[in-house]
């Protein structure tokens, strides 16, 4: 292996402040999942005398896999060579953002993390958390107001576009603190956005039906697409920071920028479209599953006779 490639592959940025929360989130989830699974097994056994469904829906076996995959994606985005090279290659930085915004949140959320983590908590913290989120508590009201679908949509778009402003982006690349803030806000708003899309708990708002979810998703595509196109077709380097880094990797500043824009534009939009297709298939399936009148002719003619 060439020393250059070896150096690249060894470029990991182990950060305790990222590792610990990810570990804590993973441990709580797995504990909760195991408890939930054991409890539902007990419950089923006591009700019917025998366990017939070894995989209860909420504690399904694929969920921890999805959740852990989501955590791994976050870890890879923030600590692997992708993060390290993001300081020198714009397209790597874009891949990092897509991982944080498009890949990790859906993987984490389809694993229904909230109930699992609640189950993973010891009793007292669980009761305290639950006390805040139930009833008519001020915190619950505030969260409900602040995370309305429209507010979240606006926030997501504003954060996503706002950080691509040259001033903000350059600032993020020059300051570790601002860079971390950028990633935190990307991930946070993306989690909120995908929370409404996936419809998992905690449920403070009315759950969208598939059609509304589809519209919600599609409405976010233009912002992503046009920003990507603007970056890809810019005739000059937009982010001055990348003109000050060595071009070790055989890509000119402009080529790097075009690649980053295309990644944002096409794979970025593809994630929305993919999720949209899933909801579209649900809508079609719901239509297919509608009960059919077994004898339409009867419905027409016999019904008239009955009325007489």
């Amino acid at each position: 292996m060439s020393p250059f490639l070896q150096s690249l592959l060894l470029s990991w940025n182990w950060r305790i402040e990222i590792i610990l929360p990810l570990l804590a989130a993973g441990v709580l989830y797995v504990l909760g999942w195991r408890r939930l699974r054991a409890t539902t097994r007990e419950r089923m056994a006591s009700r019917s005398g025998e366990w017939t469904n070894p995989r209860p829906p909420l504690a399904a076996g694929w969920k921890p896999a999805s959740y852990v995959a989501g955590l791994v994606v976050v870890a890879v985005a923030l600590m692997s060579p992708i993060d390290v090279l993001g300081g020198q290659l714009f397209y790597m930085h874009m891949i990092q953002h897509l991982l944080l915004v498009m890949i990790a949140p859906p993987l984490l959320l389809i694993a229904t993390p909230f109930p699992m983590i609640m189950w993973g908590l010891p009793r007292r913290p669980r009761r305290n958390v639950a006390g805040l989120l139930t009833g008519d508590s001020a915190i619950r009201r505030a969260i409900t107001q602040a995370t309305k679908p429209g507010v979240v949509w606006l926030l997501y778009i504003a954060v996503y576009i706002g950080w691509h402003d040259p001033g903000m982006y350059n600032l993020a690349l020059r300051s570790d603190f601002v860079h971390d803030l950028e990633h935190l806000t990307f991930f946070g708003t993306a989690m909120l956005f995908w929370w409404h899309v996936t419809g998992v708990g905690p449920r403070f708002h009315r759950t969208f039906n598939s059609t509304k979810r589809l519209l919600y998703l599609i409405s976010a595509i233009p912002a992503n697409m046009f920003t990507g196109i603007a970056i890809a077709f810019a005739s000059e380097p937009i982010y001055e920071y990348y003109t000050t880094v060595p071009r070790f990797y055989g890509l000119s500043v402009l080529d790097d920028q075009v690649l980053a824009g295309v990644i944002m534009w096409i794979p970025g939009s593809m994630m929305f479209l993919l999720a949209g297709l899933i909801f579209l298939s649900r809508i079609v399936q719901a239509e297919v599953d509608k009960p059919v009148n077994p004898n339409p002719a009867w419905a027409a003619d016999e019904a008239k006779l009955v009325r007489r």
């Binding site: 940025n13 639950a130 139930t134 998992v200």
Partner: protein, 240 residues
């Protein structure tokens, strides 16, 4: 009384045909053995301790980046790049990142011996007795193993000259730039905020909550079994 947004999810949460689930209530009614909560406290305490001890170190070793001070600067047989962090530089630790490239093909030079030297030029406190500080920049201290990085302790505010000297079989190159170092200021508010938040959250989470006097029948029933009804939060129609 259970709020509607909770009960809505519960009603439709089926484990198997004909059996309505109550995951949350069931879980909460199960009394947990004492060791579990003691174990949790131990784990949470240890995690907090590790975080407290390790965080400052991790911050000091933050990866490269910062303000570009040298860009494609000809230095002997190399093109030299250098960045300093934080911005602005302050008395205390200053992180320096150096990259060397072959001027012909921009390939990285990975086998150099790099030395970084801070020489006082015009210090604000001439009596401070601050002297030249030298450190070796290596790949070991760098997150990006293509660059050379080091931390230097700068003792006084004012103008410093930063000299970077690189040696390798290709030859010897040197370049320098001036750096204004400002007085020390506490800037790690993120650390303070994070730790403060963690302490408040941990205190609140583990604070014993007294049972309410006017608790409704349903709640007191489940509490009598050892838990609130509230793990029902989030269990809803989408989960099946």
């Amino acid at each position: 009384m259970m709020p509607r947004w909770l009960s809505r999810g519960m009603e439709r949460q089926d484990l198997a045909p004909g059996i309505e689930s109550s995951y949350g209530a069931r879980a909460l009614r199960r009394p947990r053995p004492g060791w579990a909560s003691r174990g949790y406290r131990l784990v949470v305490g240890m995690l907090a301790l590790i975080l407290l001890l390790a965080w400052p170190g991790a911050t000091a070793l933050a990866h490269g980046g910062g303000v570009a001070q040298l860009v494609e600067e000809a230095a002997g047989p190399y093109h030299m790049y250098a960045w300093t962090n934080p911005n602005p530089a302050r008395v205390g630790t200053v992180h320096v990142t150096v990259a060397l490239a072959d001027p012909e093909n921009q390939a990285p030079i990975l086998n150099a011996d790099v030395e970084v030297r801070f020489e006082p030029l015009d210090l604000e406190d001439s009596e401070s007795g601050a002297e030249t500080v030298t450190a070796r920049a290596t790949h070991t201290e760098a997150a990006n193993k293509i660059t050379y990085e080091t931390d230097l302790e700068v003792a006084a505010s004012g103008r410093w000259q930063v000299v970077i000297l690189a040696r390798s079989p290709e030859g010897r190159g040197q370049s320098a730039f001036d750096l204004e170092v400002r007085p020390r200021a506490f800037s790690n508010w993120l650390l303070v905020g994070g730790v403060g938040l963690a302490v408040v959250a941990a205190g609140w989470l583990f604070w014993p909550n007294k049972p309410r006097a006017n608790q409704e029948h349903t709640n007191s029933q489940s509490n009598a079994h050892g838990g609130p009804t509230t793990v029902r939060v989030g269990l809803g129609p989408e989960d099946d």
